[in-house]
């Protein structure tokens, strides 16, 4: 079971937010390994196994992606758009976690296929919900945000 333990990918440029996420996951008792990328481009590299992420053993494909919207280089929407073009990645649920409570961002994220939209800071409740997505996606059930 431990060898097949799913990985969570967090795309987040703010170190504080990375810290709060880790703490929240801990509080929510989620013990899945968390891989962190610092910007959109790194997210793409990780997902496509490019460059320093080429080792899939070290950097396995995530079962859940927690995605910040406002990041340097490529932003969260760019990442979502790219994922949509990758058939092998399309099934991975993406949860947007952002400081923006703007309605248009919420709508845009849904359009781009994000399964859920949370406004920071993350809470154990939110993460429980996100993990729920993970489980149901494993059971091939469609969950709408």
């Amino acid at each position: 079971m431990s060898t097949t333990k799913p990985v969570i990918l967090l795309a987040e440029d703010d170190e504080n937010d990375v810290f709060f996420m880790k703490r929240a996951l801990q509080k929510a008792s989620v013990d899945f390994p968390l891989h962190v990328v610092k910007d959109g481009q790194e997210a793409l590299d990780y997902l496509s196994g490019a460059g320093k992420f080429s080792d899939r053993h070290q950097h396995p494909l995530p079962a859940l992606i927690l995605l910040d919207l406002k990041m340097p280089f490529l932003n969260g929407f760019d990442v979502l758009a790219w994922i949509n073009t990758q058939p092998s990645l399309k099934s991975i649920p993406v949860v947007v976690l952002t400081s923006s409570s703007e309605e248009r961002d919420r709508q845009k994220a849904a359009q781009f296929g994000a399964k859920s939209y949370f406004v920071k800071p993350p809470t154990p409740d939110m993460l429980q919900q996100a993990m729920g997505l993970l489980n149901s996606s494993h059971e091939n059930t469609t969950i709408s945000s």
Partner: protein
């Protein structure tokens, strides 16, 4: 004829003589004038009598009687008459047995020719007293034969003068006779034929003559010797009646004459054409108005057919008019076209009335034609200007306005060709709209203008005849080739600025007058207005577009700013807040109470800061968000908000009651939700400590609007603060008691206004508040 008259009268003359002999002297004014006779002298006094007569025979009888009686009394007798009268009198005397030859020999009888005698004392048409006295005095003296005999004289020299029209001489001569009587003893018998006194003009002279005589005898009709008294009175009565009827007849004639003259004068000097025609349409009279209007003189047209006044295409009208006249009908104010002598047409209003003879039979018609050309033209111009004005008011489409203006211009000016030229962007006048101008002509003359573009106040330029007026050689050639003979340039100006021109063209010379061009000027003004209005509109539109673009840019920048704020500004706040919480959770056990309290304050401060940022974002989002209104069920969204509210703020145990089913409004769901949530939040928040919040919500129909009421049992707002309540960052209550950013109600009002509604509050400041939002009702609510 003369002799028979004398013979007939002769019989009567005896009767007179006899009757008169029986009578004594009697004044002419007595009731028995016929009893008087010329032989009734009044002794030695001068007897100057006058006899009016109708027939010569009667005269001869009367003179014969008068002179004969004298001879019988041994008096002398003088006859000064016409040769015919003299001889007739002599006959009468001879018939009465007098031997004239013997009497003449004795100097007792003298007969003189009146005309001949007159000539001996008339000087310059008047009797000369000296000569008269000498001549007639001598004759009297001789006839008196040494003062022993009186003399009787018959004279008709006065009658001759009268007959010649020299009444003044006649009256003077009568006077001379009277004066002569002072020195000579004689009786004088004067005679005037009554026929010479016909006519009113002789009334005064007749009275003079009568006055000059001591006795007056009427004609034989009223003084015939064989008349009885009865007959004479009847004759006089009949005469009086005749005189009376004559008087009245004369008065009537006079008034008829006056009326005829009046009518004739009215007809003659009328502005209208007044004519008459017979039933064949032949003109029988023609007044000065008709001469002026139609150009024919009366002499030219009387006897001709009225059809020469009717244009060929309207000739069919006349038979119809004649037919109606024959039926005795009148044709009233019939508007039609007639033709002048010079071949031009005019518009007339005809009134034709049948003329009837004494028996009522229609024998012709009187015809009054009023020249309504001017009136018709005025009406047409008015209509043309109205059409242009209407078009200018109805549309901003300049092509349509140009067409309407050209059409009106051609109508007003009776022109076939016209054009509108406007300055293009390069300052060249270009044909913009035109009527009946060839491409070649337009290309040849385009760009030409009689005015400089910056001319201060350009005036119309009229060329009455291009062959006479000075014109640029090239232009003249083009104008000639086009067949244009006269043209006018009318400047189109706006506020003194030249923007183009109107052109009017004729194929013949045309005398342009300022009066004639006035309607055209009005049309030009209308077009100038339309052009300028369009330009202003375009400028305005451009300005609006530019401003809109810059506003959009500002909004885009604003959105970018807000977006950054929501991320970047909130991130550090969140960090502070979260680390403080981490500190409390992980190290709480090691901190004493004051430290924990400070941490709480950091956390609260962070939370408030975050809320503030979010509220500002909400407010600014409301201001710039595009609002599309749709029917919103207040019932549905308010219940949902209340449900969420109760869930989130369980601790307050607020009681929110919705009364009845809330109505629906036209609104924007997100904005409305935000506003209602804020109001509900306020309603439960501002309560006195220890009081359970109770909120009552209901809707009320207000004409076409719906008002949503939210009533709380809170602390209320004093009226003096209420006006500040809805402004950004206004807080009525001290922060330490009640949390809030001071933006909530500003958001409510802004949301209401963006949705076309309003928001307000009612409160006495003691027993809670009643907040409301009013929006247009949804169609089906």
């Amino acid at each position: 004829m003369q002799s028979s008259a004398i013979k007939k009268a002769g019989t009567r003359s005896k009767l007179i003589f006899q009757t008169s002999k029986e009578s004594d002297s009697a004044p002419a004014s007595t009731a028995k004038p016929s009893r008087q006779s010329p032989d009734q002298s009044r002794g030695p006094a001068f007897d100057h009598l006058v006899q009016f007569y109708e027939s010569d025979a009667f005269l001869a009888d009367r003179v014969g009687e008068f002179i004969g009686a004298g001879f019988q009394a041994g008096e002398g007798g003088i006859i000064i008459g016409t040769p015919e009268h003299n001889s007739a009198i002599a006959n009468r005397l001879a018939q009465n047995g007098l031997d004239l030859t013997a009497l003449a020999k004795a100097g007792q009888y003298v007969a003189l020719d009146a005309k001949d005698t007159l000539s001996q004392f008339m000087v310059k048409g008047l009797p000369d007293k000296k000569r008269f006295d000498q001549l007639i005095g001598g004759v009297l003296t001789n006839a008196r034969n040494g003062q022993r005999r009186r003399v009787r004289a018959f004279g008709e020299m006065v009658a001759l003068l009268w007959k010649d029209g020299n009444g003044q001489a006649a009256i003077q001569l009568e006077e001379l006779w009277n004066e002569l009587s002072r020195n000579h003893s004689f009786s004088l018998f004067c005679a005037y034929p009554m026929n010479d006194f016909g006519g009113e003009r002789n009334r005064e002279a007749f009275s003079h003559i009568c006055h000059a005589h001591s006795r007056v005898f009427p004609t034989e009709s009223y003084a015939a010797p064989n008349q009885t008294e009865e007959e004479r009175l009847r004759a006089i009565a009949a005469l009086e009646q005749k005189a009376m009827s004559l008087e009245s007849e004369i008065e009537k004639r006079k008034s008829f004459e006056y009326r005829d003259r009046l009518f004739a004068s009215i007809v003659q000097y009328s502005d209208d054409a007044i004519a008459s025609k017979d039933l064949n349409g032949i003109i029988t009279s023609w007044n000065a108005g008709a001469e002026r209007i139609f150009g024919y003189t009366a002499a030219e047209i009387i006897g001709k057919s009225v059809t020469i006044l009717i244009p060929p295409e309207l000739q069919h009208e006349e038979p119809g008019i004649l037919a109606r006249l024959r039926r005795g009908e009148r044709i009233d104010h019939y508007e039609t076209i007639r033709r002048r002598k010079d071949g031009t047409n005019l518009e007339v209003s005809l009134t034709v009335s049948p003329l009837k003879d004494d028996t009522g039979k229609v024998i012709g018609a009187s015809k009054i034609a009023r020249d309504i050309t001017e009136r018709k033209r005025a009406e047409m111009i008015q209509q043309a200007i109205y059409d242009v004005t209407k078009t200018v008011n109805r549309t901003v489409d300049l092509r349509e306005i140009y067409e309407a203006a050209l059409s009106a211009l051609c109508r007003c000016q009776y022109a076939q060709r016209a054009a509108i030229l406007l300055y293009d962007n390069n300052g060249v006048m270009r044909f913009t709209a035109w009527r009946n101008l060839s491409d070649e002509y337009r290309s040849k003359v385009e760009g030409h203008s009689p005015w400089q573009r910056d001319a201060p106040s350009p005036q119309p330029v009229c060329l009455d005849d291009v062959s006479q007026d000075p014109l640029d050689a090239n232009l003249r050639a083009a104008v000639r080739r086009e067949g244009i003979r006269s043209l006018a340039f009318l400047p189109i100006t706006y506020e003194g600025r030249l923007i183009g021109k109107f052109m009017i063209y004729y194929d013949t010379p045309h005398h342009f007058t300022p009066e004639e061009l006035r309607p055209a000027q009005t049309i030009v003004t209308q077009v100038a207005f339309a052009i300028e209005r369009r330009r202003t509109g375009e400028n305005l539109e451009r300005m609006v577009n530019e401003r809109t673009a810059s506003l959009r840019e500002a909004i885009a920048q604003m959105e970018e700013f807000s977006y950054s704020v929501s991320h970047d500004l909130r991130a550090p706040v969140r960090a502070m807040q979260c680390y403080a919480e981490v500190l409390r959770e992980d190290y709480g056990a090691k901190l004493d109470e004051p430290a924990k309290k400070y941490l709480d304050r950091i956390i609260n401060g962070g939370a408030r800061m975050d809320q503030l940022i979010q509220d500002i974002l909400t407010y600014s989002r409301l201001s710039r968000r595009e609002i599309k209104l749709s029917p919103i069920s207040l019932d549905k969204i308010t219940r949902e908000i209340a449900r969420q509210h109760v869930e989130t703020i369980r601790s307050t145990h607020a009681e929110i009651t919705l009364e009845g089913k809330l109505l629906s409004v036209m609104g924007h769901e997100a904005s409305l939700t935000q506003a209602i949530a804020n109001l509900l939040n306020n309603a439960v928040k501002f309560v006195a400590p220890g009081t359970k919040p109770k909120v009552r919500v209901w809707t009320e129909r207000r004409n076409r609007d719906v008002r949503l009421w939210i009533e709380d049992n809170g602390i209320g707002i004093k009226p003096e603060y209420q006006h500040r309540l809805f402004s950004v960052f206004e807080r009525i209550h001290p922060e330490k008691n009640y949390e809030g950013t001071g933006i909530g109600l500003a958001i409510v009002r802004k949301a209401a206004e963006r949705m076309g509604g309003k928001a307000g509050v009612e409160s006495d400041g003691v027993t809670g508040s009643k907040f409301w939002i009013q929006l247009p009702a949804a169609e089906n609510s």
